[in-house]
């Protein structure tokens, strides 16, 4: 069995600052990290690896420095990693990104044993773009079932049983046969730090294979900026409006103060 995890390198802050002149992210002085949701995907994969004797493959599309997050995935226990890196992939929206990732997954599956089952795991969303689209789009490209917002997961034989959050309050239980794609929520597990031995293996025993446009036989019109159906017109940080006051004291005092403020503003 193969477990393929999709990973993204993102700026290491929850609040991204935008350069108002160029409408691009201010990356200066901000370290890059593995998208936090994706760590949960890696964790699930490494647990399954032990249970199912599966091979865990991590893939990422990004600039050469994205190798760093793949090495981290290898440190956590992934067996192999592919970095999809090429100038032709640059500027991709979610559609072109998922197309490229799907091409790589197809190639990996094609090169594996015939009939070998596989599962693709993605984090639900990335903290920079926050679209939550890439996982579902990969499943569409691959023509396999997709289950999103997974918070609990079990694999038995060829069947996965998952718990999925639905309309924030309700939980639905879904079964599906492999191959399938799941996108996971942080609630699913607590990722463990890599071990020191794991880090040594990641750099001295394991490989990050780089694939470009030609390796994937990608068509120009489906990848990168040209393959993107959407165009970012403007990115901006919402201006902070209004003022806030912090009330201090015991619960009773704070309640009184709050009532006075609300009365003053004619809200009650």
């Amino acid at each position: 069995m193969k477990i393929i995890i999709c990973i993204k390198q993102v700026p290491g802050i929850s609040e991204v600052r935008i350069d108002p002149k160029t409408n691009t992210l201010i990356r200066q002085g901000i370290p890059s990290i593995m998208n936090p949701h994706d760590k949960h995907a890696v964790e699930i994969a490494t647990v399954l690896k032990e249970e199912q004797k599966a091979e865990v493959i991590a893939i990422s599309m990004g600039p050469p420095q994205a190798e760093e997050v793949l090495r981290e995935a290898l440190s956590m226990g992934a067996d192999k990693a592919y970095l999809l890196t090429d100038r032709a992939f640059a500027g991709a929206d979610t559609l072109a990104t998922s197309h490229t990732l799907a091409l790589a997954i197809k190639k990996i599956i094609k090169e594996s044993k015939k009939g070998e089952k596989y599962l693709v795991i993605c984090g639900t969303q990335a903290i920079d773009g926050d679209t939550a689209q890439v996982g579902p789009e990969i499943a569409e490209e691959l023509g396999i079932p997709q289950i999103t917002y997974v918070q609990k997961f079990e694999l038995k034989g060829n069947k996965i049983t998952i718990e999925r959050v639905f309309r924030t309050e309700e939980v639905v239980i879904i079964e599906a046969n492999l191959p399938a794609l799941i996108s996971v929520l942080p609630e699913i597990n607590q990722p463990k730090y890599p071990t020191m031995g794991g880090i040594v293996s990641a750099f001295e025993e394991k490989e990050v294979i780089k694939w470009g446009e030609k390796d994937l036989n990608a068509k120009k019109e489906s990848i990168g900026l040209t393959g993107s159906m959407t165009e970012v017109w403007k990115i901006f940080t919402p201006e902070r409006k209004g003022q806030h006051i912090i009330l201090e004291g015991t619960l009773e005092e704070v309640s009184k103060q709050l009532c006075e403020v609300l009365k003053e503003d004619k809200l009650i």
Binding site: E68, Y193, P194, M196, G197, I199, V200, E204
Partner: protein, 384 residues
């Protein structure tokens, strides 16, 4: 000349920093006050391989035996958060497990290293006695051969990890030729009959680290447990201490770094006379000196580690590193308390603990005076 860390080393630094801040920082003050090592954190440290850093993978370690720079990074990063948590695995690995790897027979490696590397067993190296410490030749703990076993008698004091150790390297007198004592290092196991732990010391600093007395009464040790040959104890002991010093220096660099970071934060936040105290030159000079001293110590430390990894004689540089790092940490923590004013005297502020921990550094693993003696002897004998 290349001062940059490899990608692997950067990852080790990043992960260790995250681990130390998440697991150790919240309990550091508590560890100091109750002199205990939280078992939950110990368990996670063992899982992450911090007890087997410098042991090859074939014996269950992390495989950093040829990467002392990484071992220093780990020790510095944990030391940046708490000294006790840094030296517990540091001492275990550097002066017990690593010497068994370097000086041990293949049988000894296979027998002792896997449980040490996983942290299932803890290690200690014991030299200091009531009348021996700086003067290694004063060792009175002795052993005589009886059939296939050595019979050990005596006691050791101030042994780091002593009370919690399972595998102990004991420097022992096994003979005398003329005025020279013949020393031998034995591998003792805590379940051997006649071995017991004496007093656990209550210390000024590094309080969570276990410092204990070890007592030997007719402990029978099989011949196979001699490390590195009978009579080689003096030479081996010094080599073990040489290696341990680099790691001790790394721990102290971390401690100095912690004091500097706390001081920068406090100086920028604390307002007196209408402006942050960081704007006052008296404070600025202290911050500048701390930075210079710590960075000098760091350079010496990593240079020693690099020399070790490249097969060069690092004894002199290691002593310089230990001396510089302990004095830089002492000065930095001293100034950190001063910058914090009365707050710096309070248990609620970490600098109070840093200050007490730093004083330990000038004494254990070779006092500053002994380091100066060693450095002077080496310089005078062979020039520079």
């Amino acid at each position: 000349m290349d001062f940059s860390l490899s990608e692997k080393q950067k990852m080790i630094k990043k992960i260790t920093r995250e681990f130390a801040e998440e697991f150790i920082a919240p309990i550091a003050q508590e560890s100091d006050q109750n002199s205990q090592l939280d078992p939950r954190v110990m368990k996670e440290m063992k899982r992450m391989g911090y007890f087997g850093t410098c042991i090859p993978k074939k014996y269950g370690g992390a495989g950093l035996h040829d990467d002392t720079v990484s071992f220093c990074i780990i020790t510095e990063e944990i030391g940046r958060v708490d000294a006790s948590w840094s030296i517990t695995p540091g001492v275990h690995a550097s002066v017990c497990a690593y010497p068994i790897y370097v000086f041990g027979t293949e049988e000894q490696r296979q027998k002792f290293l896997p449980p040490l590397a996983k942290g299932d067993k803890l290690g200690v190296f014991a030299l200091t006695e009531a009348n021996a410490g700086s003067d290694a030749g004063g060792v009175e703990t002795n052993a005589y051969l009886d059939g296939d076993e050595w019979v050990l008698n005596g006691s050791k004091i101030f042994a780091t990890n002593g009370g919690i150790a399972d595998t102990l390297l004991i420097v022992t007198k096994t003979g005398q030729s003329g005025r020279r004592k013949e020393l031998t290092v034995f591998i003792l196991e805590s379940d051997m009959k006649g071995y017991s732990v004496g007093v656990r010391e209550d210390k000024l600093g590094v309080r969570a680290s276990n410092t204990s007395e070890l007592v030997f009464q007719d402990v029978r040790i099989p011949k196979e447990n001699v490390l590195g040959g009978v009579g080689n104890g003096f030479r081996i002991g010094l080599k073990i201490l040489d290696y341990g010093r680099i790691l001790m220096a790394a721990q102290l660099v971390g401690l100095g770094q912690a004091a500097l970071e706390a001081s920068i934060k406090y100086a920028n936040e604390r307002v007196q006379f209408g402006k942050p105290i960081a704007t006052f030159q008296g404070i600025q000079y202290k911050i500048a000196d701390m930075g210079v001293e710590i960075e000098s110590a760091r350079l010496l430390t990593y240079q020693s580690a690099w020399m070790c990894d490249n097969g060069l004689d690092y004894g002199l540089m290691g002593s310089m590193a230990k001396l510089k790092a302990s004095e830089a940490a002492m000065q930095a923590t001293h100034d950190a308390v001063q910058i914090h004013g009365a707050y710096g005297l309070m248990k609620a502020y970490a600098v109070e603990r840093y200050f007490r921990d730093a004083k330990m550094g000038e004494i254990y693993e070779g006092t500053s005076e002994i380091q100066r003696m060693v450095i002077a002897q080496k310089l005078l004998r062979r020039g520079y």
